[in-house]
């Protein structure tokens, strides 16, 4: 009950609080949710860059808020990479999570389906998929560096600015590629139209020449 012990107790609680706040900033309590009819498949895709971290969390929302869910309320999940490799597969589960580092750049697909059930049941699925800055584990960063909440926030902002900068480079590259493609399409169209005129004229000339020799052979001309 001395002064030292009191100070120690409140400082420990503050650290726990800041960690809790940081963890909630990284993985919020609520996320995107959508409905799945029995036997229906729904796929959600996200474009992920090379070597970016991605973290996903999914769960069936229990409408009754009590007791276990029946079998019809379980989902099967499959996460595939752009080249078709299966990254995560879970059959007949109520909730789960997955995390991976993108080895291939492109569209990653997360597909959910429920088994067919006679009275058509609608399953509400909650899905949270975060990539890049939001996927980073900020609780570990806070614990390792022993930094306070404000510094963590500013670190997050710094990472966000860097990712914005990288994204601008990526967009610039893509725009350059597209401009090249447009330019070649433009010149190709000009060449092909000119060629079509040539083809038309040459076909007409061939026709005339062939018919002339044909009639001369038949002694009609």
């Amino acid at each position: 009950m001395g002064p030292g012990r009191r100070v120690g107790g409140s400082a420990g609680l503050r650290l726990v609080l800041s960690l809790a706040m940081a963890s909630l900033l990284a993985l919020p309590a609520r996320s995107l949710r959508f409905d799945l009819q029995s036997g229906q498949t729904k796929c959600i895709s996200e474009d992920i860059k090379l070597n970016a971290m991605a973290v996903g969390k999914y769960g069936v929302v229990n409408p009754a808020d009590s007791g276990p869910l029946p079998d019809s309320h379980r989902v099967t999940v499959r996460v595939t990479s752009p080249y078709g490799n299966s990254i995560h597969f879970a059959e007949s589960v109520e909730l789960g999570n997955f995390a991976f580092t993108a080895n291939e750049a492109g569209d990653y697909l997360a597909c959910f389906w429920t088994p067919v059930h006679k009275p058509a049941a609608t399953v509400t699925l909650e899905f949270d998929w975060r990539t890049g800055v939001a996927a980073k584990d900020w609780t570990n960063v806070a614990k390792k560096g022993q930094i306070d909440l404000m510094e963590l926030e500013l670190k997050k902002l710094g990472d966000t600015v860097k990712s914005i900068h990288d994204e601008m480079f990526y967009l610039r590259e893509r725009e350059e590629e597209m401009q090249d493609m447009n330019r070649t399409t433009n010149s190709r169209m000009a060449w092909l139209s000119f060629l079509s005129l040539l083809v038309c004229l040459s076909v007409a000339a061939l026709q005339l020449w062939h018919l002339k020799t044909f009639f001369e052979r038949k002694k009609l001309l």
């Binding site: 009191r6 409140s10 609680l13 503050r14 609080l17 809790a20 706040m21 909630l24 900033l25 919020p28 309590a29 609520r30 996320s31 995107l32 949710r33 959508f34 409905d35 729904k42 796929c43 959600i44 895709s45 996200e46 474009d47 569209d107 949270d128 998929w129 939001a134 404000m150 926030e153 500013l154 902002l157 966000t160 600015v161 990712s163 914005i164 994204e167 601008m168 990526y170 967009l171 893509r174 597209m178 493609m181 399409t185 190709r188 169209m189 092909l192 139209s193 060629l195 079509s196 083809v199 038309c200 076909v203 007409a204 026709q207 062939h210 018919l211 044909f214 009639f215 038949k218 009609l220």
Partner: protein, 216 residues
């Protein structure tokens, strides 16, 4: 001293509860295929939060048919009334202030039969205002500034995602233009050559000795 210690603990418990119930920012950036109606739900925690987002329709491969007319977006508040609606667009940004907290429904409606892929991004942003500052003594005015900065950066990120999705759609259109150009031009040459060949064959047949009216 004893009372001060108790009041600090009470405030920290409140803060824990507040943290458990609250979350300053949340986002979803995904793409779904819309066959008829696709609805996604997002939870808005505080009344007055700015809900912003964008969506872009990426057309499926069109070769023979004309462009898709666009899809509709309808945002419904938890009370059931329409908060925001956009009709027949191929992609747009939206922003509105949430009139109340709760589960908001974002529905994409596809009037055509062809399935379309929609890539959307929804962000719910909350900036603590003076009311929150007064309620919670642990919240500094600097937290408000940090939240504003965070929201500004989020808007830049959101705009970038929109531009990226539009660029994907643009690239799709360009590749389709290129394919159609090559295919249609080759078909045109072939059709021209075939028509001309058929013409010649027909004229030759007309002057054929075996045809009745040519027999002298």
């Amino acid at each position: 001293m004893g009372r001060r210690e108790r009041s600090i603990q009470f405030v920290e418990v409140l803060l824990i509860l507040g943290l458990l119930l609250g979350c300053p920012h949340r986002l979803s950036a995904l793409s779904v295929t819309v066959n008829d109606v696709e609805c996604v739900y997002e939870y808005v925690l505080y009344e007055g939060d700015t809900v912003s987002g964008n969506f872009v329709v990426v057309d499926h491969d069109l070769f023979w048919s004309s462009d898709h007319p666009g899809i509709d977006l309808v945002v419904t508040s938890p009370g059931g009334n329409t908060v925001h609606s956009l009709k027949g667009t191929s992609g747009d940004k939206f922003e509105f202030q949430a009139p109340r907290a709760g589960m908001y429904k974002f529905c994409f409606h596809n009037p055509n039969r062809t399935p379309e892929t929609v890539s959307f991004y929804i962000h719910v942003g909350h900036i603590p205002n003076e009311h929150d500052l007064a309620k919670d003594e642990h919240l500094d005015p600097i937290n408000v500034k940090i939240a504003q900065l965070r929201e500004a950066l989020e808007s830049v990120t959101s705009e970038q995602r929109y531009l990226k999705a539009r660029e994907v759609r643009h690239r799709h259109t360009n590749e389709s233009t290129r394919r159609r150009l090559i295919f249609y031009t080759m078909t045109e040459y072939l059709a021209l050559a075939c028509a001309s060949g058929l013409q010649v064959a027909y004229i030759r047949r007309l002057f054929n000795k075996s045809v009745a009216y040519n027999r002298v």
